[in-house]
Symmetry: C2
Subunit: 498 residues, 2 copies
């Protein structure tokens, strides 16, 4: 009995475990150092899936066996976003420094829900830096979260509670459930609607405001929609502006929306998932003018700051409102003037989570290691790469640009004379799948004006201009290949296209 | 221009960075290996707080400087839960294997929101293992989350949407806002009320059901409360049962509550934050009978499985209901039959988060490395240590047990003849602060029947029986010390107490 009890989960042989860790560290570093040499993506083979589907592990397998399984079954089948030609969705690329920070956070095993310890001061400092970066007032509050979806849920919870006109926390929504309405552009991310669904307001409480030719919210339409709702007896409470739409990277007129919010007494939430970090770029910063007026701002560190997944942030202009929306510390969470239970206020008072890992460390590490200036230069680099790519698209007869390039996203398609919309959608979808399956590059797809677009999003510090060349050449070759295979009659000979 | 662009965020000198990483790995391993040798906690000095409050880092500091800052300003001031005498709240202790897994996850930098890649299959397997462990049906769904607070939010969102009787996602709560009511015992964790607040139902929609002498929900009172609410025209929709209350570790009669839920057509959500993992213990498993009938189950890996923070899980009996509550994939998230956009269903369809890190890896690693049998033995060890501690408390005239020991939590206080309630509260609060500040041990406090209790929670794989002895001896010595200092007249001489 006593012997079994003395056996912790620590290694029986520290020396052996240490050796294993150093080996795995070398493997991890080698993995990052050779990111460019691998295929950007490859499918998980069926036999690997079968091997992963093992029975409940009752017996210990030991760390060495688990590491071997990891190297064989998991590591080779990554999402691909460490690769310089990963252009899908909006994924950051990670950094070796971020990985090191994860190791160190794992050693400390801190719970940032509250209490008084070093990691708490690191997260406070990261929030404080963000506050300064976005020009929020000293009274602002903030919290690190998994990403913009969670940040938006928090921001809109505060907005709802502040604007409902009664104690929603205690009494529930009551009649506010059918009357509160919010506004976002038709290009807004689905995270906003999802948050409203969770909050009990329903997705129909979100007005979809039309956009202009640059995919920015039409402010006249916004004003009209607010007026119509008011005259119908509804209660507008919030506008969600987007700084960097997911489809095209468009930035809403934040200052203009802020002015409307001020005059209409509405909460301004800004979804700046990746675009907010364009504030680090000298060139693009002016386009975010007005972001400092947001009542809440949601953005990610794991996108354009390349902090390892996951890491996002919510800032709330008046931190006390955030605390009022979430603080509920019962007797077992009571604070104390002294000791480990000090450290008021606790982070669990600013969001839904009580258990919170030390994700602040990788953000702190990234900001300090690289500095804001260099991080901003990488933002500029990606925007410049997008412009270059868009130029190549415009110049090529087989390619058609489908949206203006606002920041770092290029939406286009492969095309040919006489193609039907169905043919175009099919071949462009296939081109993207082929690019991914051949391991050359990983763009994703979206729809713009009904048409399927190849969507190249560049939030990748490893990308070079030459990667854009590789992408375009491979894409054209695959397009011609598919075209001649599918419609030999309709297709011109391949050499006409290059 | 071209040169600047070629500069990624990867190290300029990989060899130098590699050396730094190996040094830091040794520091991290040394930190864990010597956990017992450190004080369990120490306050963050004011000069350290000041040093952390540095200006926005515009210039790069380099990884080496950041690591030095970490070692000087952060690492020495941990929460303390790696230490064998950390007994506060319900914190797991972490493991070296879990730390290694965090390193490897950091290298892969995967986003588990969706798509088709290896990490997705790891998370699916972890969820599948949990499904088997708790006897959920094959159709069950699940998701890894930050912890039980988030898991409860998800479980209750599904419950609300299923039971509201109309399309809450689209239409909002409507009249359900004032009529849906839920039930939990007076000992339930505040996470339940917080979830109801976020969901727009309000904390008053939660009925606080009295408990019996063992701090378990009184099922007659539950049945009466449901009947009263129905006769008042309200709509009971959910019972939250607790497997391991935060105050005393009490386990509600899950089978009894499941029977009531079945006959009343109510959703059964089980908060099993730490207690659910007692299913790994041969001795305690029978006490969780009925957990397999839960409609949703929330629990943590970072508590009694010692996975590094943060890592919890939500299981939903009918996975399709979970998907219906959260799935919303727009054009930029469209799935595909082929390529990286395959892998349906995506995890983002099962919860509020679209960005999701690879926390599954550390859970997978822990379960495989140690195996369920050994992990269950550590659960048993902690429960046995609690019984031993409670015995020492019962046997000592200066100590008073304040609640029965159900699992791994011992609530008691230091006392003396003629003490007033105020004196007892004050001295016990001070004893806990002194134990923490002297770095000897870190229990927390709570309140039971109005009295402040020293709360020793043992979810610590490094704790030994001797640590209980150290705790009791130090606690008694500090109590006598405070007693003779504060009330020299009232206090007997110190030797009378040992």
């Amino acid at each position: 009995m006593a012997v079994a009890e003395e056996t912790s989960l620590d290694p029986a042989d520290w020396g052996e475990f240490r050796t294993l860790c150093h080996e795995m560290l070398d493997a991890a570093l080698g993995y990052l150092e050779t990111a460019r040499a691998r295929p950007v993506w490859r499918p998980v083979p069926e036999e690997v899936k079968a091997a992963l589907a093992e029975p409940l592990p009752h017996a210990p397998q030991g760390a060495s066996k688990v590491c071997a399984d990891f190297r064989r079954l998991v590591l080779p089948y990554a999402t691909g976003n460490t690769h310089p030609r990963f252009f899908g969705w909006v994924h950051g690329s990670g950094t070796p420094g971020g990985m090191l920070a994860e190791l160190l956070a794992g050693a400390m095993n801190a719970n940032l829900g509250g209490r008084d310890h070093g990691p708490v001061y690191v997260e406070r400092q990261v929030v404080e830096w963000c506050r300064q970066l976005f020009g929020f007032p000293a009274e602002a509050g903030g919290l690190l979260v998994s990403g913009t979806s969670m940040a938006t849920l928090i921001g809109l919870t505060v907005a709802r509670n502040v604007k409902a006109g009664h104690d929603v926390r205690r009494l529930g929504l009551g009649s506010a459930a059918g009357s509160l309405v919010a506004y976002a552009s038709s290009q807004a991310h689905s995270a906003t609607a999802k948050a409203l669904e969770i909050l009990g307001l329903g997705s129909e409480a979100l007005r979809s405001v039309p956009v202009d030719g640059g995919y920015r919210m039409d402010l006249d339409a916004l004003a009209r929609s607010i007026a119509e709702d008011r005259s119908s007896g509804l209660r507008p409470f919030c506008v969600v502006a987007t700084a960097g739409t997911v489809n095209t990277g468009a930035i809403d007129d934040l200052a203009g929306i802020a002015a409307i919010c001020r005059s209409e007494d509405l909460w301004l939430h800004v979804d700046g998932a990746f675009g907010a970090l364009a504030i680090l770029s000298e060139a693009h910063r002016p386009r975010l003018a007005g972001i400092e007026w947001a009542d809440s701002l949601a953005f990610d560190f794991h996108k354009w700051l390349h902090v390892p997944y996951d890491a996002g942030c919510i800032l709330v202009r008046r931190g006390e409102l955030q605390r009022q929306a979430f603080s509920s510390r019962h007797e077992y969470l009571a604070g104390a003037a002294r000791g480990l239970a000090g450290g008021d206020p606790w982070f669990c008072e600013y969001g839904p989570e009580l258990s919170r890992g030390f994700r602040a460390l990788k953000v702190w590490f990234t900001l300090k290691e690289h500095g804001l200036t260099k991080l901003g230069r990488k933002v500029d680099d990606n925007c410049r790469q997008a412009v270059t790519l868009a130029g190549r698209v415009r110049d090529h007869p087989r390619l058609e640009l489908l949206a203006p390039v606002s920041l770092n996203i290029v939406c286009f398609r492969f095309t040919w004379p006489g193609a039907t919309p169905e043919q175009l959608d099919r071949i462009n979808r296939e081109i993207v799948a082929e690019l991914q399956e051949r391991g050359i590059a990983a763009p994703s797809t979206t729809r713009l004006g009904g048409a399927l677009a190849i969507r190249v999003n560049i939030t990748n510090h490893r990308s070079r201009q030459t990667d854009m060349d590789t992408l375009v050449e491979a894409l054209l070759a695959i397009g011609e290949e598919l075209l001649s295979a599918a419609t030999p009659a309709a297709a011109p000979v391949r050499q006409a296209s290059v």
